[in-house]
Amino acid sequence: MILAVASGKGGTGKTTVAVNLASVYGAPVQLVDCDVEEPNSHLFFRGTVTERETFAIPVPHVDESLCDGCGECGRFCRYSAIVSFGSNPIVFPEMCHGCGGCMEVCPRKAISEVDKRIGEIESTRLEKITLIQGRLDIGAAMAPPLIRAVKARLQEGLPAILDAPPGTSCPVITTLRGADLVVLVTEPTPFGLHDLKLAVEMVRELRIPFGVVVNRMGIGDNRVHAFCAKVGITILLEIPDDRRIAESCSRGELVVDALPEYRSLFATLLWNIRELRGMEMGVSNVRSAN
């Protein structure tokens, strides 16, 4: 099962849920940090990086001896990543999406592709957890290609927990594609509810089954619960607003280690996730049988 932990709003506890869930998983599991702009999962584990590789995307390179300055590449490019004013074109690699179009349309075949580094991927092997994370270089704008590369490191057949970036735009979509189930983490506040609604719309569009974790129960009000009840969303877990949780997270400690009384809470979450997954598979079996 590939499980993604996401949220509309940032700072609701995605990473807390992902890392603690991974440590109560029991069986070997891959923990994948897809928040490549600000990867945080590794801060909760002590281990040495076993593999590190740089990641690059293809960007155009113009052979000036072949280019006649016709400008076709610049007219084609939708991202203003290659510009030509009747002379040799100028490439802006940070704008390039790597579509390869300029290379295809160049009548003199003067364009080839070279690698431009945008980040790196690290793997760390812990006792039962394999942590895989991407880290976008400072100043690089394009997270999705790196996220795709991180996910390509997933070993098939082994369960995985994906820690998604916040929001609902391209980096999140790239993370969620192919996931079997999404856990949306929110908090019972007006901001939490508003961003949860956006996230729900997103996972529905992607047609991935999902449930909700309400973190910091006790602050705010009951509008998140009312919303979930009204539209039929399963609440998988409530995590109480306990200052000791915030303190242990601030020190980079797993909640299940620092506060062992919460171990059963995360075990319950895992149980509820498996149950929801079982129900969804049952439903889809019925659907496909019909």
Binding site: G10, N40, F76, G100, G101, A143, S169, C170, G220
Partner: protein, 298 residues
């Protein structure tokens, strides 16, 4: 263009959920005391500032960005060249009727590059404009506000951020407002870069945790990369006082200045429930926020 200098303060955080929006709303209220600010919500992906400032929308504009490939089934010859050349895995084979396959574009994966449109040998692919969201000009109790909503799974949030900032600047010039307060997105990628390039100052709101520290380091490197002066404020500092101190030292070492600390205060959530900025209530942390605002103006 008016000759007066406009100060543009961008509030960002690296890590999400550190209290950016609550602080920005309070700044908007404080700036309104002198009637000088325009507010811009550049967290177009998950905009929340409107939940506190209750804008009355005056203008609404569609945000069109780029194009979307659409295959006309009736003209498709089924050669599959589009799928072969698409770098974004956005083209799938849908069905095979009488041995001839049909292809379809997944609008969520399509990045609108136009390669398939150009290469299709029978010109069976249309390339219409894509509507990616909307942006609005509104009026609030704190002055004019520009905000936006990015469509679901839409691309190009950076471009929408640029539009919001451009409009805010236009209004500031038109109405002679001296300050633009920008609520920025989390992260360090494309929408963040669009939010801060060319700004007068960034304020990074962080929290005293290993995650807050890690993300602050990266976001400060980003503001340095774009040569924007940075200030740092540790929110909920008393959750971990040693970490707060360590973070402030690190920030100073990275060339940022410390704009103050804000205490952990459950009344921040209470204010949010009442749709009020923290400084409009008697929350204890309101005093801390006022002090940060004064320090930023120095």
């Amino acid at each position: 263009m008016s000759g007066a200098r406009i100060e543009e303060l961008v509030v960002i955080s690296g890590k999400g959920g550190t209290g950016k929006t609550s602080l920005t709303a309070s700044f908007a209220v404080l700036a309104a005391l002198s009637g000088s600010a325009v507010i811009a919500d550049c967290d177009v992906d998950a905009a929340d500032l409107h939940l506190v400032l209750a804008p009355r929308v005056l203008e609404r504009h569609g945000f069109k960005s780029g194009h979307e490939a659409l295959i006309r089934n009736e003209d498709c010859a089924g050669c599959g060249m589009c799928r072969e050349y698409c770098r974004f895995d956005a083209i799938g084979m849908v069905r095979e009727a009488n041995g001839i396959p049909t292809f379809a574009v997944d609008p969520i994966s399509c990045e609108g590059c136009g390669v398939c449109v150009r290469l299709c040998p029978v010109k069976a692919i249309d390339f219409p404009d894509r509507v990616c969201g909307e942006w609005m000009v509104s009026d609030t109790r704190c002055g004019p506000m520009v905000h936006a909503r990015l469509g679901l799974a839409a691309e190009n949030s950076g471009k929408l951020v640029s539009i919001v900032r451009r409009e805010a600047r236009r209004i500031a010039e038109e109405k002679g407002k001296g300050v633009i307060i920008v609520d920025g997105p989390p992260g360090i990628g494309c929408p963040v870069i669009s939010s801060l390039t060319g700004a007068s100052q960034v304020l990074v709101v962080t929290e005293p945790s290993v995650s807050g520290e890690h993300d602050l380091e990266r976001v400060l490197a980003l503001s340095k990369h774009f040569s924007i002066p940075a200030a740092v404020c540790v929110n909920k500092w008393d959750i971990n006082p040693e970490m707060a101190e360590r973070i402030e030292k690190m920030a100073c070492g990275a060339g940022a200045r410390v704009a103050g600390r804000i205490r952990y205060d459950s009344a921040v959530t209470t204010a949010q429930l009442r749709e009020l900025a923290v400084v409009e209530t008697d929350a204890p942390s309101a005093e801390d926020m006022r002090r940060v605002w004064i320090n930023l103006a120095r």
